[in-house]
């Protein structure tokens, strides 16, 4: 939504109901502060953040990889008993 100046004017006029701030932790350097030019403080309450979900996604991927490694090791003796799979030990 526009520049930070526009954002601040809208906030000042009481026209903002919700602010969605996206943070990218790799941005470096300096620049204008998002809300610094606002004349008076407007108090906001945090409604949601996706960090929890992000963690679930990342950790599930890791879970899958680790689960796969152990589960296949457990199953290998069974696999080798199947016809045509005698050399399957190498697939662990």
């Amino acid at each position: 939504m526009g520049s930070s100046a526009l954002t601040v004017s809208l906030i000042g006029m009481g026209l903002v109901d919700e602010a969605r701030v996206m943070v990218s932790p790799v941005v470096l350097g300096d620049g204008k502060s998002l809300f610094r030019t606002a004349a008076e403080r407007v108090s906001l309450t945090a409604r949601s953040s996706r960090l929890g979900l992000a963690l679930v996604v990342i950790a599930s991927a890791q879970l899958m990889v680790v689960l796969d490694a152990t589960i296949v090791n457990v199953a290998l003796p069974h696999v080798q008993r199947a016809p045509g799979f005698r050399g399957a030990a190498w697939s662990g």
Binding site: M22, S24, P25, V26, R50, L51, L53, A54, L55, V56, V57, I58, A59, S60, A61, Q62, L63, M64, V65, V66, L67, D68, A69, T70, I71, V72, N73, V74, A75, H78, V79, A82, G84, F85, R86, G87, A88, A89, W90, S91, G92
Partner: protein, 214 residues
């Protein structure tokens, strides 16, 4: 002894680097899809070579997922308590995966079929890939030359090392293989692949593997 570990170990460094270059989320999702596809194919294997090939591709997928999962945690969570907590959850899930794998592996092979050991990855992988697109932020791409020769020699070196270590293990017959010519050759060869890379990298603008293998 395995196709999976050789591919995984060999491509781990390259997988992490690809994430730096092409965007972590994109590469992470690609790894998940590759892993799921290989699991699906492996589940349908009709012979050992088919299974072996599928496991190698799974290893490649895993090599892409693991380093980028870790990198995504450091880029998603601010330093300090949030990141420490995220790392804790991540490690706990990884450990839990091992425990669940033992139980589930036994249950599936006993009551269903070993094929399901591979099939279980498919829904997990697809769900995580779909969610990753919605939930994770993309990291910036960093264009720059990729040191292809360095990547090839580094990957081959680590893969040989893993292969050599796998082969050296004492077999079920109790015979140790540490003295085998093949084992010695595959353990010694990486020294040759790492050295030329170091020499060249003095001139390379970008380290492929900044951590070094020496």
């Amino acid at each position: 002894v395995n196709a999976y570990a050789v591919a995984f170990g060999g491509l781990l460094l390259l997988g992490g680097r690809a994430g730096d270059r092409l965007g972590r989320r994109r590469v992470f999702v690609a790894g998940l899809l590759l892993f799921s596809a290989a699991s699906l194919l492996g589940g349908f294997a009709t012979g050992q070579w088919w299974l072996l090939a599928a496991r190698a591709v799974q290893g490649a997928g895993g090599a892409v997922i693991a380093p980028n999962a870790l990198a995504l945690i450091t880029t998603t969570f601010p330093e300090g308590q949030p990141r420490n907590r995220a790392m804790g959850v991540y490690s706990a899930m990884a450990g839990g995966g091992g425990a669940v794998g033992l139980l589930l592996g036994g249950l599936l092979t006993t009551y269903v079929s070993w094929r399901w050991v591979l099939f279980v990855n498919v829904p997990i992988g697809l769900m995580v890939a779909a969610a990753a697109h919605r939930v994770l932020a993309e990291s910036p791409r960093r264009p720059g030359p990729i040191d292809v020769a360095g990547a090839v020699t580094g990957t081959a070196g680590v893969a040989l090392l893993v292969y050599g270590l796998s082969k050296a293990a004492t077999g079920p017959d109790g015979v140790s293989h540490w003295g085998d010519a093949l084992v010695l050759a595959s353990l010694a060869a990486p020294a040759g692949t790492v050295r030329p890379r170091r020499v060249r990298q003095r001139h390379a603008p970008r380290d492929e593997f900044a951590m070094g293998l020496e």
